[in-house]
């Protein structure tokens, strides 16, 4: 697509959003971002890139209680290339006393912030400096709710069998949710050709006005490891995570998590994550560090953002220390976003 066409498409976004019917929804955003990367290897040059991204989310009330939803992304790189991504395209409707979903949908599970063992349907990277719009998973799902319980059954990537990447595997997943006062409880079961049986549990509990604790555990009958550019079958595995969030009246917030992921490469199995953030009305400043004791790696990030009405300005610098800095030593990102 030529840049002129993209510019025209971007210009039309606010007009389209303004035309949305009250009963339906149309929203979107325009983002311009620039990145600078400092290489960790002397024979690889530093690099930079910039791009513009337009996202559009539409929701349409169709006959027979059906809801159609689509999320599209249009990314234009500084080298002139353009990429279109359909992040979500779903049909949702009540069915047989429950609620049915067909299509491509983002479905995130688990209670963690930096690491999420029970996120068996959607593998979401929570610490990405440049969080791409999540891309949904093709699925058929049926859910049932009362005021304190929920049951979700998902057939993801139907007909795919075992694919080249785990994310694209066909799998049947089941989640049970129960609210018990100040505690949320989850049970998850997943069946797939690659991993066999996976079973896990999680909880999140509010202890007082500012303190919440959470934890999750996943057991895998088998798993694959990525070696020499391909997946190789390995034996049993498990993932365990524990953490807390703490917030004060002055809007200072801390997230801390520790986890062990036996399915990761040995030096990256044990992790400690700490994030502190201070919020002043429209401004937020945060700092976080991910420490991997076995490899003596520390990935630290400082971010700031300013949000005013539909405008969001953000800037981040991430430093890769120890072994994690082998390829990239430092990464800086600045962005401006306008929502409609």
């Amino acid at each position: 697509m030529k840049p002129r066409v993209l510019t025209l498409a971007l210009s039309a976004l606010p007009l389209l959003c303004g035309q949305a019917q009250a009963s339906n929804q149309l929203s979107g955003a325009l983002l311009a971002q620039t990145e600078a990367r400092q290489s960790g290897m002397p024979d690889i040059d530093n690099s930079s890139r910039s791009f513009q991204l337009a996202t559009l989310h539409g929701q349409l009330e169709a006959p027979w209680q059906q809801t159609l939803r689509a999320s599209l992304g249009l990314q234009h790189q500084h080298d002139g290339s353009t990429r279109v991504q359909v992040s979500e395209l779903t049909l949702e409707r009540p069915l047989a006393g429950g609620f049915f979903t067909a299509g491509k949908k983002v479905m995130s599970w688990d209670v963690g912030y930096a690491f999420r063992p029970l996120d068996v349907v959607q593998q979401e990277d929570r610490r990405a400096l440049n969080p791409a719009t999540l891309e949904g998973i093709p699925m058929l799902a049926q859910e049932a709710f009362d005021d304190q319980h929920a049951l979700t059954m998902v057939l993801s990537n139907p007909g795919h069998g075992k694919s080249s990447q785990p994310r694209d595997d066909e799998a049947l997943a089941l989640r049970l949710y129960r609210q018990r006062g100040e505690r949320d409880e989850y049970l998850v079961l997943r069946l797939s050709e690659r991993n066999g049986v996976e079973a896990g549990a999680a909880f999140s509990q509010v202890l007082n006005q500012g303190l919440e604790v959470h934890g999750s555990f996943l057991w895998q009958e088998r798993h694959d490891v990525w070696r020499q550019q391909r997946w190789i079958a390995a034996g049993r595995s498990d993932k365990a995570m524990a953490g807390f969030t703490w917030t004060t009246e002055s809007q200072f917030a801390v997230i801390a998590e520790v986890w062990r992921d036996r399915s990761a490469v040995p030096l990256q199995q044990r992790n400690v994550f700490l994030r502190a953030a201070q919020n002043w009305d429209s401004y937020t400043v945060s700092a976080d560090v991910l420490w991997q004791p076995a490899s003596r790696s520390a990935i630290s990030t400082i971010s700031t953002s300013w949000k005013h009405g539909p405008w969001l300005l953000a800037a981040s610098v991430r430093h890769y220390g120890g072994m994690s800095g082998t390829y990239t030593r430092q990464l800086a990102i600045a962005s401006i976003e306008r929502s409609f």
């Binding site: 959003c17 929804q25 929203s27 989310h57 009330e61 209680q65 059906q66 809801t67 939803r69 779903t90 949702e92 409707r93 009540p94 609620f99 979903t101 949908k105 983002v106 479905m107 995130s108 599970w109 209670v111 979401e124 969080p131 719009t133 999540l134 859910e143 709710f145 009362d146 005021d147 304190q148 319980h149 929920a150 979700t152 949710y177 609210q179 006062g181 100040e182 949320d184 999140s204 509990q205 509010v206 006005q209 500012g210 303190l211 919440e212 959470h214 969030t245 917030t247 004060t248 009246e249 809007q251 917030a253 919020n279 949000k307 005013h308 009405g309 539909p310 969001l312 976003e337 929502s339």
Partner: protein, 245 residues
């Protein structure tokens, strides 16, 4: 004082206290009815913030309420569309735009965003506060009653409220809102107008006592009675999109 006199005095005191308690409950219910005439309703709210008298921010919310202290706030402003906050008594969850994961949050995390405004839109004095009638007063030339109220739940943004209601019909006129520390956080004044053939609070003006140059105006754009299914107030339902408004 004889035993009889002591007993009679105690009985009289108890009867008076009981009568005052009953009166307070009636007054609070009537005051609530001006703000939330329907126990299960869909309310469209406009929140405008002013700094030093100049417009600063403007945000829109759809608020769904049902009995039992349950409410669901749907953010409608650009950049926030898709954000949802679910409140069920002292329990809170949030869904951020772009993420399909409902998160359990603490009462103080709720204050990080604009959801605290939801407290003002959805809390009921009769359901969330208890207290006493302090006496008669005057507000803007109107005879009023002053009520001293204490929150019955720790998660409420304002733990103490001094509420002034019109002596004639108990419509809310003014309130001082205090934190648990005793610090006055905001002053609220209420505008009552005729809507759908009945007097209703159509606007609440909040003057910030901490950031004194700031004022927030909460306008009830529309309010209609509606019945909702149980699923709407289940945290796991937040990630679904088939919510009919």
């Amino acid at each position: 004082m004889s035993k009889f006199q002591t007993g009679a005095a105690a009985l009289l005191f108890s009867v008076c206290a009981l009568a005052q308690g009953a009166d307070l409950a009636t007054i609070l219910k009537k005051a609530d009815a001006y703000r939330l005439p329907d126990s299960s309703a869909q309310i469209e709210t406009l929140v405008q913030t002013y700094k030093r008298g100049e417009p600063d921010k403007e945000k829109r919310y759809q608020v769904l309420i049902r009995p039992g202290g349950k409410s669901l706030i749907l953010f409608q402003s650009p950049g926030e569309i898709g954000q949802k906050v679910l409140m069920s008594g002292d329990d809170f969850w949030m869904l951020l735009p772009g993420s399909a994961r409902p998160m359990r949050i603490t009462p103080l995390q709720k204050l990080l965003g604009d959801a605290a405004t939801g407290d003002i839109a959805t809390m009921t004095w009769s359901g969330d506060y208890q207290g006493t009638i302090q006496g008669q007063c005057s507000y803007a030339g109107q005879a009023c009653l002053e009520l001293e109220l204490t929150a019955t739940r720790k998660s409420l943004s304002y733990q103490r409220v001094v509420l002034q209601v019109a002596a004639s019909d108990y419509r809310p006129l003014h309130a001082d809102l205090y934190a648990a520390t005793g610090r006055r956080l905001k002053q609220a004044s209420y505008l009552v107008e005729q809507r759908d053939g009945r007097p209703s609070v159509t606007r609440i003006t909040l003057r910030d006592e901490v950031q004194t140059a700031r004022e927030t105006v909460i306008t009830t754009v529309s309010s209609k009675p509606r019945q909702f299914g149980d699923e709407l107030f289940n945290a796991m339902y937040l990630s679904r999109n088939d919510l009919k408004l």
